[in-house]
Symmetry: C2
Subunit: 935 residues, 2 copies
C-alpha cells in the first residue's frame, strides 16, 4: 500500500491566487482545506498556507507513524510559505506565525479544532513585540500556550483558568508575563515536559494531535450517531496567521450571504473589532451588527459585500463565512453552505432560482418535505428555557397546539364557543367516530391509547391538526371533569401545550410560533414548479366540501378518496342511517334511504362544484354498520336509565330494540367484518341510493355548467366476483336513473362515470389482473393493506410496534412508511399484473402513505398515476412527487447542474417535452377525453 | 350430418350368448342396454332383444323425425327376434310380446320407464290365452292398455283407476274383459284415437314416446339439478317378454350381491311369486325373503346364486339386479352397481380387496372421505316420520347429538354429572375460551351466533363433537335458566336433539343411531392401506395428552400443532397465568412463570410419552393475553358486587387492578393484536419458560428410554427479523439449560430439537424464502392465513358468507375448503420459494383445512410433507391423502385396473419402490436421522 501511494503527494499549497488543490477535493483536503484552495483560486483574499491531506492521517492511524516522505514535503511547504510571506518560522524578528486547523470531509464537531499562533517561543517573543506592541505579543503567546496545552496536550481548560486566577493584576504587561510563566509551569507539570520552544516541534505535535483526535471518544461517538464511515481521517490546514486583534482597524466576523432565519436576500453578519475569532465563539464580548463595519471601515465593508456575493454566485448557494480584518485588510478564513431555517431554505431556493443562480429543479431539490412540514406547522416557542414534559406519547400528527382541556366532544364544542374563539385540547382515552364534532372544535388531541394510525391520529392528520397518541399515564374522569397526567391533575378549562413534532406534553400556556400559511408566495411558487415537473399526480382525500375546498386551494389534481360515511356522522344524518339500520322491513329501509339520498346528493354537488373538471373519487359505504350505533355500554346505560326513570313503554321498547341490534351487529374483529363491499352485497339498496345520489348530483351541477367527473370506488374488494356483482348493480342503477330522467335521447345531458375498486385486501392484490379487467381504475388503500399483510391491527399495534422499532425488528413503522419488501412487493406485482391485463387502467394510492415522502418515492417508481393524501399533506406530497420525478430523469437533472443553467424544468414546457411520459391521469382528467362508462 | 352417420347402425341386438354391443357402450346403449348386452355375452340367461341407440334419439330430437334407415334396421331386428324366439309379433297364436324400456347412459328417474306386453291386440288375445290361460291373457292386455295409455299417451293414472272402479265384479274373466273395454274407450276418448291394434304401431309409438320423454319437464328438472348434459338422449331397449306371473312356478325379484346396509357378503334379495316386476314396485303385495325361493325352487335359487356371483366377479363390484322366473326358468333383466350405505361401501371394498376381486388401490378409491365421516358419526334416527325442526343453523361439526339443555359451562358440568353420565347439549349465544370445561362436559353445542369457523365450531371439530352454530332466533336467559328457540321455550334439563349434518334442531329426545368406532376392523384395514400408499403424511393437532392419545390411536404420524395455551385454560393453571399478566414487577412475573413451568413440563412429558419417536410440534404461546382474563363486563360486575357487599379493601383494590389491566389489554381487533410471536418478543420471559419446559420434558422422558422429537413452532410470524430474534432466544435458552444440566460432556443425554414457524400472515408467505433460511420447518396455519388474505374475520364472516355462497360470489366457504386462487396461490408460491431457499426444509399444513379432502388434494399437489388435522378428522384425512397420492401416480393406477390385479400398492413395498418420492417427513421422523438443532 505504501508503494502504491509513494508517488502521490501529501501536501497541497494555496496562496496568492494559486492553489494546488480545489473545491472538489473535500475527500482529500477536508471541507475547510478545499474551500480555502477554491477561494484562493478565485483570487479572493485568503492567507497563504497548505493542507496536509487525509491520506497522511490515514497512514498515520494505520502505521502509527508519519509517512516517511511527509517530513520532506512539510519542509518544502514551509520554505515556500516563508518565501511567500517573507517571514521565517521561529525567526527572531517578525516571525512567521501559523494557525493549525483540523478539517474532515464532513464537518465533525467532536474533533479537535484550532491552534493559533504556532511559532512563538521565549526567544522570538520580543521580536514579535517589535512588529506590533508588547501586549499583543504577550497575549498571542498566552493564547498559544493555552490552546496548545488544552488541545494538543489535553490539559483541562479549567486548569488554565485556575492558573491565571493566581496572577497578580499589577499592570497588563506584568500580568501577561506572569500568566505565561504559570501556563508554562502548568504544561511542564501536567505533561511532564516543558513547552516545546522549537516552532517546528510545536507544528509537528499539533499535526499529530489533530490526526489522533480522529479516534478520540467524542469523535467516535459522533460518527456512530451520524453513521459516518470510520476510516476517512482528517486533513490539517496550516496557514499564515492574520490578526483581528491588531487594534481598532482590525477585527473579526462571521456572516451569511442571506438571512438564515427568513431567507431574505440581505447579508447577515456580525463583527467584533480588535478581536480574534475565538473571542466571538467564547461569547465574552458582544459582536456588533455588520452596519457598524460599514460605518467604521466602509472600504472593507464594500469589499466584504463584493467578495461574499462572488462566493454565493460561485457556490450557487447561501454561504456561511468567516473573515478577519487585519489593519484594514480583509481576509477570508472559511466559507461553507449555510445552515438555515426551513423558511429560509424555501425562500432562498425560490429566489435564487428566480435570480437565475440555480435552476428550478435545483430549487426543488434544496427543500425537503419535512422543511415544508416545519414551515406549515406552528411550533412551541421554548425561548431559552428547558422545560420538562409531564407526559410523552407518539408524535401522531405534527405541529403544536396550546389550548384548554376538554374531556368530551360535547364539552370541547361548548368550551370552544360558537366561533371557536377559545383554543381547545381534546383529551380522551381514545377517540372514535362519535367524537368528530369535538375534534372539529379542538385545535389538538391527546389520547392515552392508540398509535400513529389510530382514529385520533388519522383524523388529526386529515384535519391538519396536532395530535399526540398513546401517551401512557393519562387517566380521564369525564364525570369529575378531571384528568390525571402522570402526577398532575388538570381540570377542564386548564391550559395544556402539545408539541406534536416530538410527542411531548407540557402544562400551562406556552407561546406558539405561528405557521406560515399556504399563501406564502415562495411556497406557492415552489409547489407550482413541483406540480409542473411531476410524473405522478397528487390528489387529495376529502370527505366533506370543506376538505375539498382546502384541497382545491392547495391545487390537488383530483379527489382520490371521499369517504361517504363520514358525511353520515353529522347529527342530523345519523338519525336517518340509524333508522335505516333498525328498519324492520325492506320498505322501512327504503324510506330511510330515501331521506338520506338528498343529503348525500347535496354534499356531492358541493364536492363537484369545488372540483370542476377534475376527477372526484367517491368511495361507497365502507365501515361496519355498528359504527353508526352507540356502543353496547352506552346502549345498556340508556336503557337502564329509561327503565329507572320513566314509564314510557314505547321508548323502553325502542331502546331494547336498539340494544339488541347493537349486540347483533357487534363483531370480534370489526376490521374484517361486515363492511366494505360486503355491506353493499348484503344490502344492495344502500349502493343504489349512493349511486343515485352521485349521478343526480353530477347531473345537477352539469345543469349549472360545471363538469363533474365522478369516479365510483368499491371498497374492500377480495374477489373478482364481488366486483362483477357490484359493477352490474352500479351500471343498472345508472341506466335506470338515466331512463327515469329521460336522458337517453339527450346525449349531451347524460353523465359519464367511472367504476373502480380499492385494493386493501391481500387477496385482491393477488388477483389484481382479474379485477383490472372489470374496472376503470384501482386505488391501493395502503392502510388496510398493511394491516392485513402484516396482521397488525392499526389500533392495537402500538403495543408491540415500539418494541419492534427499538429492537430493530422493523426499520420503520409500516403504517407511516410503506413496507417495501412485504406490502410493497404485493403492490408492485399487483400494478404489473393490472397493467398487463388492462393497459388503460388508472392506478392510484389513497392510504395514509400517500402523504409520506419515502412512500411516494416508492409508488412513483412503480409508475402509479397518482397518490392521494389528506389536504394538509398536499404540499409535502407534491414536493416529494417532484423529487422522485427528478430522480427518475437523471440525464435531464445532470444538465441542470450547469451553473446559471437553462431553466429546463418549467412545468408547461416539461409536459409538452415529454408527452410519452405524461401519466394517463393528465389525460383522464381533461374534460375533452371523457370517462369510459357511459351507460 | 345424416350422410356422416349413414354408415353406422342404430340398433344393437343381443340374445342367446351373443350380442352386438357390450358393457362399455353405455353412452350408445344406455346403462340398461349395455348391461343386457354384457350379460348376454357372459352367457347369462337374458331374454333376447335389441337396443335402439341414443344416437337415434338425438337424431329424432334434432330433426323431429326418425332416422330414415331406422325403419329398415328395426324391421330386420324384429325379424331376427321372431326367428330367435320362434314367435311372431302380432301372430294369432302365441304371439311375440315385447317390453320397451328407456335407458340413458346414467340412470334418470325423471324419464318414462317401461311398457310391457307390447304386441297384444283384440285379434291375438285368444291365441295368447291358449298359450297359458284366459285370465293371464286378459290381465296382460289390461296391463298393456294401462301402461300404453299412461306412459305413451300420458293419460293420468287416476283416470284408469276411475275407469276400473266402475267395472262390475261378476267373475274374474268378465271383469277383466269389461276393464279392457273401458280402458280402450278411455284411450280413444282422451287421445282422440283408438288404441292401435297394429303391434308395429304400438312399438313405434312407444319408441317415439321414450325419445320424447328426454325433454319432458321432470327430466329437464332432474338434469338441471344433477348438472347432467342436456344432449345425451336416451336409448330404447326392446326385449322379448318373460312372465313372472305364469303361476306358482313363476315370480319376480330384486336383490343385491351383498348386504347394502352392512356390506356383509351374503346375497340380499326379495322375491314375489306369480308376479311381475311392477307388482313389487307398486308395493301391493309384500315380497318374501329370498330364502323362500330356496325352499320352493331350490334349483332356481342355486342358479341365481351362481349367476349373481358371476356378475359380481365380472363387474368387480356389488351388483343390484332384477330377475324373473318364468315357469321355473331364471331370466336376468337388469344389473348395475349397487347403491349402498357408507358402512357397506367400507366393508365391501375391504372384503373385495381381501378376496382378490379388486386391488387395494381400488378399494381405497371406492370409499370417499364423507363415507367415513358418516360411518364415524352418530345420526338421528327419524324412522319414517318427517319431523319439523324448531331452528336451523350452520352444520358446523358433523354427527348428531341428543341431550339435556345447559345454558352455562358450569351448569353443563353440573348436569352432566361426575362421570358425564348424562348427555348435555350446551346452548350459548356464542362460546369462548371460558366455556371449555362446559364444552368438554357436553355432547353437542348449539350457538345463536358464529359461523363454521367460530370458536364453538373449531372446538367441536377438534373434540369430534356435533355442533350447530349461527342458529337464528335463539335467545338464552342464563339467569332464568331458559332459552327461547323460535316459538319454543326450553328450560335447562329439557331434551334437545341436534342433527349436525344438516344444522337442524329438534325438540325432545330422538333416537340416536350410534357411530362405528375406530375399532371397526374394516376401517382399520382400509386406513392402514391408505397410510401405506400416501406420499403426504397425516399428523394430528393435539392440545392435551388426551388429544394425543386419540391421535396415536388413529395412527397419526406426528403432532403437527399443540396449542400450549389451551393447557393454561384449566382452572388450576389460569390462576398462575393471570398472576403472570398482572405482575407489577419482572421478579413477580418470573415467579408466576416459575410456577407455570412444572405444569407445562408435565403436560409435555405426557405428550412425548404418547408419541414416542414421532415429531411433536409445540406452538409457543399464541393468543392475546386478555383471553386469559375475564371480560370487561364480568370484571366490572365483580367489582361492583364487591363494592356493594364488603369492606374488604384489599379485594376491591385487587379487582380494580384487574379491571384496569383488562381495559389496558382490550383490543379493537384482537386477531391482529398483541399475540403470536409478538407476545414472545415483548415478553421473552414467557418463551424462555416454555422452551425450558419443552426441553426438560424431553430430557425427562429420555431418561425413561423414550425418544422425544420436539419441534418448537413460532406463531404469527410476519418478518424474518422476528424469526431471527426468537430463534436466537430459543437456542440460547436451550444452551443455558444444557449447561445447567451439565450435559455438554454427555453427548447422549442432550436433546435434539427443531425450530420452525407458522405461516399465517400474508407477509410471511410473501417472504417465505427469507424465513426458510432461518428455520428447520414451516407449517401453514391456513385458518389465519385465510382470514388475513380475504380480510374475513372467522368469527364475523357468517354475516356475509351465506349471502356470498347463495349469490355464487364464492363457490366454497374458504374456511372449509382452501381458496385455491387467492390463499392457495400465496401458499403455492411460498412453498416454491421456501424449498428453493432451503431444500431441507420440512413443510406442513396445520389449519382446519388439513382435515378437508378437497384441500388435502390441493396441498398434496403442492408437495407439502404433511397435513395436520384434529384427531377426529384423521381417518378422512388419511383417506384423502391416499386418494391424492393415487391420483398423482396415474400410470400405476392404470395397471391397477387389471382385474384380480397385482396388489401393487401395499404400503411397505410402495415406500421402498419409490424412495425418491418419499416425503422428507418420513426421513425426519425416523429416530436415526436426528433433528438438526443440537445446541
Amino acid at each position: 500500500m505504501d508503494r502504491k501511494r509513494a508517488g502521490s503527494r501529501y501536501i497541497y499549497r494555496f496562496g496568492h491566487a494559486q492553489a494546488e488543490g480545489d473545491g472538489s477535493m473535500g475527500e482529500e483536503l477536508g471541507g475547510k482545506g478545499a474551500s480555502l484552495a477554491e477561494m484562493t483560486r478565485l483570487g479572493l483574499p485568503v492567507p497563504a498556507g497548505f493542507t496536509i491531506s487525509t491520506r497522511a492521517c490515514r497512514f498515520y492511524l494505520e502505521q502509527g507513524a508519519m509517512p516517511p516522505s511527509l517530513e520532506e514535503e512539510l519542509e518544502s511547504a514551509l520554505g515556500w510559505l516563508e518565501l511567500e510571506q517573507a517571514q521565517r518560522l521561529g525567526g527572531e524578528r517578525d516571525p512567521l506565525l501559523l494557525s493549525v486547523r483540523s478539517g474532515a470531509s464532513i464537518s465533525m464537531p467532536g474533533m479537535m479544532d484550532t491552534i493559533l499562533n504556532v511559532g512563538i517561543n521565549d526567544t522570538n517573543i520580543d521580536g514579535l513585540a517589535v512588529k506590533q506592541n508588547v501586549t499583543f505579543a504577550l497575549d498571542s503567546y498566552r493564547r498559544l500556550l493555552q490552546m496548545f496545552g488544552s488541545v494538543v496536550l489535553q490539559i483541562p481548560k479549567h486548569a488554565f483558568d485556575q492558573a491565571s486566577e493566581g496572577v497578580s493584576r499589577d499592570g497588563e504587561e506584568a500580568s501577561l508575563r506572569q500568566t505565561i510563566l504559570s501556563f508554562q509551569q502548568l504544561i511542564e507539570h501536567r505533561s511532564g515536559k516543558p513547552f516545546p520552544m522549537d516552532p517546528r516541534a510545536q507544528l509537528r505535535q499539533a499535526v499529530v494531535a489533530v490526526f489522533e483526535s480522529w479516534n478520540n471518544d467524542r469523535a467516535r461517538h459522533y460518527r456512530r450517531i451520524h453513521r459516518t464511515p470510520e476510516n476517512g481521517g482528517t486533513a490539517v490546514t496550516v496557514q499564515a496567521m492574520v490578526f483581528g486583534n491588531y487594534g481598532v482597524n482590525s477585527g473579526t466576523g462571521v456572516g451569511f450571504t442571506r438571512n438564515p432565519s427568513t431567507g431574505e436576500k440581505a447579508m447577515f453578519a456580525e463583527f467584533l473589532a480588535n478581536a480574534q475569532g475565538e473571542d466571538i465563539v467564547a461569547g465574552i464580548r458582544t459582536p456588533m451588527p455588520i452596519a457598524e463595519l460599514e460605518r467604521t471601515m466602509p472600504r472593507v465593508y464594500r469589499k466584504l459585500r463584493t467578495v461574499t456575493s462572488r462566493l454565493e454566485a460561485h457556490y450557487r448557494d447561501v454561504q456561511d463565512f468567516e473573515f478577519t480584518v487585519q489593519n484594514g485588510e480583509l481576509f477570508l478564513l472559511q466559507t461553507r453552505a449555510a445552515k438555515r431555517s426551513a423558511l429560509a431554505k424555501l425562500r432562498s431556493a425560490v429566489e435564487m432560482a428566480e435570480e437565475g443562480l440555480i435552476s428550478r429543479t435545483e430549487a426543488l431539490l434544496r427543500v425537503t418535505p419535512s422543511d415544508l412540514e416545519e414551515v406549515l406547522s406552528p411550533q412551541l416557542d421554548f425561548g431559552n428555557v428547558e422545560l420538562q414534559p409531564i407526559a410523552k406519547g407518539l408524535p401522531a400528527s405534527p405541529g403544536s397546539a396550546v389550548g384548554q382541556v376538554a374531556l368530551t366532544a360535547d364539552r370541547a364544542v361548548e368550551l370552544a364557543g360558537k366561533h371557536k374563539q377559545s383554543p381547545i385540547i381534546l383529551v380522551r382515552q381514545e377517540t372514535n367516530a362519535d367524537d368528530i364534532h369535538g375534534m372539529d372544535a379542538a385545535v389538538g388531541f391527546l389520547t392515552a391509547h392508540g398509535g400513529a394510525t389510530s382514529h385520533a391520529a388519522v383524523v388529526a392528520r386529515g384535519m391538519g391538526k396536532c395530535c399526540i397518541t398513546g401517551a401512557g399515564g393519562i387517566v380521564t374522569d369525564e364525570v369529575a371533569g378531571e384528568v390525571r397526567i402522570g402526577e398532575h391533575t388538570l381540570k377542564e378549562g386548564d391550559w395544556l401545550s402539545l408539541d406534536g413534532s416530538t410527542g411531548r406534553v407540557f402544562p400551562g400556556q406556552l407561546t406558539l410560533r405561528p405557521s406560515e400559511s399556504f399563501d406564502n408566495p415562495f411556497l406557492t411558487k415552489l409547489l407550482y414548479w413541483a406540480r409542473a415537473c411531476s410524473l405522478t399526480a397528487v390528489w387529495a382525500n376529502a370527505d366533506t366540501p370543506q376538505d375539498a375546498e382546502r384541497a382545491s386551494h392547495a391545487s390537488a389534481m383530483g379527489i382520490g378518496l371521499c369517504r361517504t360515511e363520514h358525511m353520515f356522522f353529522a347529527k342530523d344524518r345519523l338519525a336517518h342511517i340509524r333508522s335505516m339500520i333498525l328498519a324492520s322491513s325492506p320498505a322501512a329501509r327504503e324510506r330511510a334511504l330515501a331521506s338520506l339520498l338528498p343529503v348525500q346528493q347535496a354534499d356531492f354537488e358541493e364536492l363537484f362544484r369545488t372540483m370542476p373538471g377534475l376527477p372526484v373519487t367517491i368511495r361507497l359505504i365502507d365501515p361496519p354498520l355498528h359504527e353508526f350505533l352507540p356502543t353496547e355500554v352506552a346502549a345498556r346505560e340508556e336503557l337502564a336509565q329509561a327503565r329507572l326513570q320513566g314509564t314510557d313503554v314505547e321508548n323502553i321498547q325502542r331502546l331494547e330494540e336498539l340494544l339488541l341490534r347493537v349486540q347483533q351487529l357487534s363483531e370480534s374483529n370489526p376490521m374484517m367484518g361486515l363492511r366494505g363491499c360486503r355491506l353493499g352485497i348484503v344490502h344492495p339498496e344502500i349502493i343504489v341510493m349512493q349511486v343515485r345520489a352521485i349521478l343526480r348530483a353530477a347531473l345537477r351541477v352539469k345543469a349549472e355548467g360545471i363538469l363533474a367527473l365522478p369516479e365510483i370506488m368499491v371498497p374492500l374488494v377480495a374477489c373478482v366476483e364481488e366486483v362483477r356483482f357490484l359493477r352490474k348493480l352500479i351500471d343498472a342503477t345508472a341506466a335506470n336513473l338515466f331512463a327515469e330522467e329521460d336522458l337517453f335521447g339527450q346525449e349531451g345531458r347524460r353523465i359519464g362515470y367511472r367504476v373502480g375498486v380499492m385494493i386493501e385486501v391481500p387477496r385482491a392484490a393477488a388477483c389484481a389482473d382479474e379485477i383490472a379487467r372489470e374496472v376503470d381504475f384501482m386505488s391501493f388503500g395502503t392502510n388496510d393493506l398493511t394491516q392485513l399483510t402484516f396482521g397488525f391491527s392499526r389500533d392495537d399495534a402500538h403495543k408491540y410496534l415500539d418494541t419492534y422499532l427499538e429492537l430493530g425488528i422493523l426499520k420503520h413503522n409500516p403504517f407511516v412508511t410503506i413496507d417495501r419488501e412485504g406490502v410493497g412487493s404485493l403492490i408492485r406485482s399487483a400494478v404489473r399484473k393490472a397493467r398487463e391485463a388492462n393497459p388503460d387502467i388508472k392506478i392510484g394510492i389513497c392510504g395514509e402513505h400517500g402523504g409520506d415522502p419515502a412512500s411516494i418515492a416508492f409508488f412513483a417508481e412503480l409508475g402509479v398515476d397518482y397518490v392521494s393524501c389528506s389536504p394538509a399533506r398536499l404540499p409535502m406530497a407534491q414536493l416529494s412527487a417532484a423529487h422522485t420525478s427528478i430522480a427518475r430523469a437523471p440525464v435531464k437533472s445532470q444538465q441542470e447542474k450547469v451553473p446559471h443553467g437553462l431553466r429546463l424544468v418549467e412545468g408547461a414546457s416539461l409536459s409538452h417535452d415529454l408527452p410519452s411520459q405524461i401519466p394517463s391521469v393528465f389525460r383522464s382528467s381533461s374534460p375533452s377525453a371523457g370517462p369510459t362508462s357511459l351507460a
